[in-house]
């Protein structure tokens, strides 16, 4: 332990510690969890010369305020936002040096939802089952951030601070386009309903969270059969269709099993990262994945 740490001054609406999550425990009922916008999380660590599995903060809409309790280097990625150090504007998407006692203020997201605040050395709260991620479905990992919390920072690794990279801005958010590979339960829906799925325009529902991106207002998928599906294993990006016919895209904190039929799967990568940044009301459509 390096003794370095950050103190939380302003926790924000929903700020959690996230790394790559805890895959490999689904058979025990443990969700995979981890950063929702995996690309933005990876970028923040890369900028700082951290290992890809270093833990960072994931904010929701209104950022976070922190005080450095030692000299630290941080980087903010994900949702674009104003970043200030002790009142002075500094760069987003680039390493920023903080003196001991400096205040880091990560502002409200100008677009997108989730900003990532990484620190060189990574946050080193105690891991649970190999991960420091907060899992909001099952309550594993550190609690949601609250003011006054002190977050320990680990020692820096051998890689230097990189400084420049290509920060991917979240898409223009005009529309969220999700590639979908049909199956395993596409046969639970009317063929006409599947055909309509490719034409349908949904909107991101305000009920969306780290468990899933919920949709509203689009075409409703009509089941071709009655009865219930016995619960079965679920994957990241699975598009479940509950009885109301409105698709739900499973994100990192999704339950490991589910009983609603999965019409298709959105591959992990840029599309799910974009889903993590889509605000309520953003139009959503599905396109057939190659």
């Amino acid at each position: 332990m390096s003794g370095a740490a950050l103190r939380v001054l302003r926790a924000g609406a929903l700020t959690t510690v996230q790394d790559l999550g805890r895959p490999g425990y689904a058979h025990l009922g443990v969700p995979r969890s981890g950063a929702l916008d995996a690309g933005a999380h990876a970028l923040a660590n890369r900028l700082l010369g951290n290992r890809p599995d270093a833990a960072a903060l994931e904010t929701t809409l209104d950022g976070v305020g922190l005080r450095a309790l030692a000299p630290l280097t941080v980087a903010v990625t994900g949702a674009p936002c104003a970043v200030r150090v002790s009142g002075r504007a500094v760069a987003w998407g680039a390493p920023v040096r903080l003196r001991a006692g400096a205040e880091l203020e990560v502002g409200r997201a100008e677009s997108g939802v989730r900003a990532y605040v990484a620190v060189r050395g990574g946050l080193c709260v105690p891991p649970v089952l190999g991960s420091r991620s907060t899992d909001l479905l099952s309550g594993l990992g550190p609690p949601v951030l609250s003011a006054g919390t002190v977050l320990p920072v680990g020692p820096a690794g051998p890689d230097p601070v990189r400084g420049v990279d290509v920060p991917a801005l979240p898409g223009m958010q005009g529309e969220l386009v999700l590639p979908l590979r049909p199956g395993p339960r596409a046969d639970w829906f009317e063929p006409a309903s599947i055909a309509a799925l490719w034409r349908a325009r949904f909107r991101v529902s305000p009920a969306s969270n780290r468990i899933g991106l919920r949709t509203e207002a689009g075409a409703r998928l009509i089941r071709a059969r009655g009865g219930e599906l016995p619960s079965e294993g679920m994957v990241l990006g699975a598009v479940q269709v509950p009885p109301d016919g409105l698709p739900v895209v499973f994100l990192a904190d999704h339950p490991v099993t589910g009983g609603y039929p999965v019409v298709g799967v959105v591959p992990a990568g840029p599309a799910l990262d974009a889903a993590a940044q889509a605000r309520p009301g953003v139009p959503v459509r599905f396109v057939r994945a190659r």
């Binding site: 490999g24 425990y25 689904a26 025990l28 009922g29 199956g183 079965e232 294993g233």
Partner: protein
Amino acid sequence: MRPLVVGGEALLIELGSAAQVAALHAELLRRRDTGELGAVRDLVPAARTVLLDGVREPGALAERIARWEVPPLAEAEGPLVTVPVRYDGPDLAEVARLWGVAERDVARIVGETVFRVAFCGFAPGFGYLTGLPERFHPPRRATPRTAVPAGSLALAGEYAGVYPRSSPGGWQLVGTTDAVLWDPEREPAALFAPGVRVRFEEVAG
């Protein structure tokens, strides 16, 4: 056996019965240990399926698995854990009535059953245990409880389970255990992992 490709890196294998799921799951574990299965991140059994997540070329893997001879599960296969239970659950009388037996006999019937953890879900460490004969499959409660105490031994349909922590639930509560079902600091974290056999032993209240 019906394999279904799930996205680009997962395979869902649908089977006809819980017994077939248990047999295939055991075979998958054996072949994973010997390296024959290849890389797989998660092996998730469920009621009538096994999910293989984090695999390469799920279509080719499905063809390989379809050629396997999967032996039925031996009765004594899998580790056995014994869990002490006090039969003090608030639904004990209702379960006895549904089964047409005296309250005393619920402990005996449960105690004589060797259960098997078919799969986990709902919460970390919550195992769905099979083994009770069909005439002893009680329905869920008409109204779920908002808070079921941790350690409650509960029955619903073909399953028995123990709540690892307090949570809402609609199963019939017949008893309580002090056993720690889930402790992420422990190895293994879950007392009830898929494939584990379980006996409930009555202890005085």
